[in-house]
């Protein structure tokens, strides 16, 4: 097991090194760049040259990359130029990561709360109207472009009904104390209940928009897994033994069906951590997705580089965790 983890971690280092080179080259091969973004209309050939010199962009690319690696090894990834000028890119990542985790957890919890029971019920009544409708229903959310869904949610729940806020993480009128960067948790820790409640209200709409895809996936996997397990011999044995339905369902069907579901939840959470670019953008959610969109729009390469590398690491780590969880849960895999 330990060797397996070590090997995977080594592979991760390899992936990150290769990715850092690719990303570095790739960003610099994009047309335009930081200098244009910073100067705008004031860009003249002379100002361009001065700024490129000041930023070291006039150096050959391998020199730039080497500089980048040297800095990165000291934990310094360079100052942002567009997302939050002057702040180190890694600090921006650390500062925004809690926002993304908060939103991802909220969405995944929503998806679980609805997806698992619905998937279970659909499987129990396979091929019924209930089953068919919930299959179609779960997939509607996948088919709606998320920015359009976001508009609908905001329009009805925030603008028309005034139930929920339009965007952001917390009302600007609330003077909240920041401890961890997780606004809900901060509110609870500091017993500022109003700020915690306000943060939850801000989570609902983006959480819903973001939950559509994990919900559909969790629903589908739960349904399939329950269908699978219901046909297994031990369930039939249990039935033939005359165990009550409740015991069969609770102890045998649901629990065994959860293995693929847990895996799926892990992978989906990983996906949410790196993939909420559009949702965060349209809800002005100050997380990594928004930072990704902004750093791209404003050609803030320092931030974009860090984000991409951290996304890759997150991705690999989540995969690793899922595999480990698998091995822990299912001893058969360990022995292989």
């Amino acid at each position: 097991m330990l060797r397996f983890i070590l090997r995977r971690l080594l592979q991760m280092v390899g992936v990150v090194i290769v990715l850092s080179m690719l990303v570095f080259l790739w960003l610099r091969s994009l047309p335009g760049g930081t200098v244009s973004a910073m100067l705008g209309e004031r860009a003249t050939p002379a100002r361009r040259a001065a700024l490129e010199k000041a930023l070291g962009l006039d150096q050959p690319i391998y020199v730039q990359y080497w500089e980048f690696v040297k800095r990165a090894l000291q934990g310094k990834f360079g100052a942002s130029t567009g997302v939050q000028a002057g702040t180190d890119a890694f600090d921006i990542f650390m500062q925004r990561f809690p926002a993304t985790i908060e939103l991802a957890l909220f969405s995944i919890v929503l998806a679980i709360i609805v997806g698992i029971p619905l998937g279970y019920l659909a499987a129990r009544r396979r091929a019924s109207w209930f089953d068919n409708l919930s299959v179609v229903g779960s997939l509607i959310g996948v088919a709606v472009p998320v920015f359009f869904l976001a508009f609908l949610l905001k329009y009805f729940f925030a603008i028309q009904l005034h139930w929920l806020p339009v965007s952001g993480r917390q009302d600007s009128g609330i003077d909240a104390t920041r401890v961890t960067g997780f606004f809900v948790l901060d509110g609870v820790l500091t017993r500022e209940w109003d700020s915690a409640w306000d943060a939850i209200k801000h989570l609902i709409l983006p959480g819903l928009a973001l939950a559509t895809i994990p919900f559909a996936v969790i629903f589908r996997i739960t349904r399939a897994a329950v269908l699978d397990v219901m046909d297994e011999d031990y369930v039939r044995t249990a039935e033939s033994k005359g165990l009550t339905r409740r015991v069969i369902r609770g102890r045998h069907v649901l629990r065994n069906a959860l293995l693929p579901v847990v895996t799926t939840i892990g992978l989906q959470t990983g996906g949410l951590l790196v993939g909420a670019v559009l949702t965060e953008r349209v809800f002005s959610w100050g997380g990594l997705g928004e930072a990704t969109a902004l750093s791209f729009e404003r050609r803030d390469y320092a931030v974009l580089q860090v984000l991409l590398l951290m996304f890759a690491i997150t991705f690999v780590v989540i995969n690793l965790l899922v595999d480990i969880a698998y091995a822990v849960i299912d001893p058969r895999i360990r022995t292989r």
Binding site: G32, G33, S36, M38, L39, G40, E41, R42, A43, T44, P45, A46, R47, R48, A50, L51, K53, A54, G56, R71, K76, F77, A79, S80, T81, Q84, A85, G86, D88, A89, I108, I113, I116, K154, A158, H162, V166, S167, G168, R169, D171, S172, G173, R178, F183, W193, D194, I200, K201, R255, N256, L258, V262, I265, R281, V282, S284, G286, A302, I329
Partner: protein
Amino acid sequence: MKLTRKATPVVLATTLALTLAACAQSNRDSGSGSSGSGSNNKDTITFGAAGAPELFDPFYATDGETFRVTRQMMEGLVGIKPGTADIEPELATKWEASSDGKEWTFTLREGVKFWDGEPFNAAAVCYNFERMFDQNEVAAGGPAGYWADVMGSFKSDAKNALYQGCTAKDDMTAVIKISRPTSKFPTALSLDSFSMQSPKALKAGDANNVTKQGEGFGYPAYSKNPVGTGPYKLEKFDEANKTVTLVANDSYWGEKPKTKKIVFKIIPDESTRRQELEAGSIDGYDLPNPADWKGLKDSGNQLLIRPAFNILYVGLNPAKNPKLKDLKVRQALYYAMNRDQLVKTQLPEGAMVATQFMPETVAGYNKSLQAYPYDPEKAKSLLKEAGAEGMTLNFAYPSDVSRPYMPNPQKIYEALRGDLEKVGIKVNVSTKPWNGGYLDTVDNGGYDAWLLGWTGDYNSADNFIGTFFSNLKANDFHTSATSYGAQLTKDLEAADSIVDEGQRSAAYEKINQQIQEDYLPGLAISHSPPALVVSDKVKGLVPSPLTAETFSTVTVSK
């Protein structure tokens, strides 16, 4: 089979969520957080901003989002008269130039103090100017851009700088020497970048210590903790919640701010700003999309239209397309464009056809110039005379940007392109994202013709036509490839150095006439007024052509 462990994470997550929900339920509904002190007005203005301020030391800033914030906190020697582009006394009560225009004497306002209690006096003024002048290599290359624009160079290259030193003649009189007379003085001192900041705080915060951090700039501690003289002070910048809070400066020398707090809420998405306003969670935002103007007014908001202080032009590059070297061809393009229709159908209310490269409020604007009329027949015959019938024009627009002078580049482009095609010009459509190669290609001379524009920084002809054409060696219009380029540059420099305002204006008027009639380096298209939008509860906000609105006179009723 051990089954218990599998469900644990799910149970944990669910429990956590339920616990949190339960905690929250035991609470009151979230309040607006603003319980006023008995008056009918709210104690907070909440304004939607498109981006975070880069930093809070305006000297190193170059973008409007930063200046909107620092303008509430900082003041310069010279201010801007609300609602106009004209200057008025601010921290200096009056100023006077020597007869050769090289020595400016500023009489300072009495009784002004920085927030940290430091007195504002001539020593402080000179400290500020010396501080701005003395920039390290890194700052000089980028962040100190406005100084580089106005003053030419820094202390390391002192002899080429416009700024030649500051002396405190007495406690309340500061004298600034410049190397040559220029139209930039004293108007350029109204730029936010040249605001006066507390010498003590500047020193303590190591304000000049700009460093290169990777491919960006690192700023010193001072930039997060500025000290000025203005009506508002920085309370906090909550980066996690993306809000900047300013609080009234109770010891402000002038009229006390009417509202206690300003919150700038950063909402990068344009349509989300609109939604926030309609939902009532912000009181206003800047630069609403002209497509939204009507809807905003219909839903009861106030649209504050600023006088246009910008210019949209079609740049032409004779070095890239030699046909453009012929004045007749350039005139033909101008005659071919139905700009009246463009302004009516594609530009926001209040937009005007341009007759020259500057708006009419600028001294030096030539009132006698007439717009080139829409005359496709004349265009065709001019093209024929020049032997350029059916010429191909590689004409570009930026695909993903909205600027105050061109709210929707693509639509403006399509209209102009249609006009050009009608007179037989083959238009080769080019487009790139603004930051993604468009500006680069324009600067590298990669297009024959392109859409671009300019919003004035301060009220001077030099800030418009000087910016465009005076650098002979490297300007986008490639005037160096023309017969008139050198002359134009010389005339512009000469006009800039005329001390007498009347004579100077006359000189600029003449240059404007020559540009339009004899040179035509590019085609000035239009001026579009940018707008601000605020809810019907907001009073006292005066739109400024320089986008230099101050919020200290603003109230928001409950």
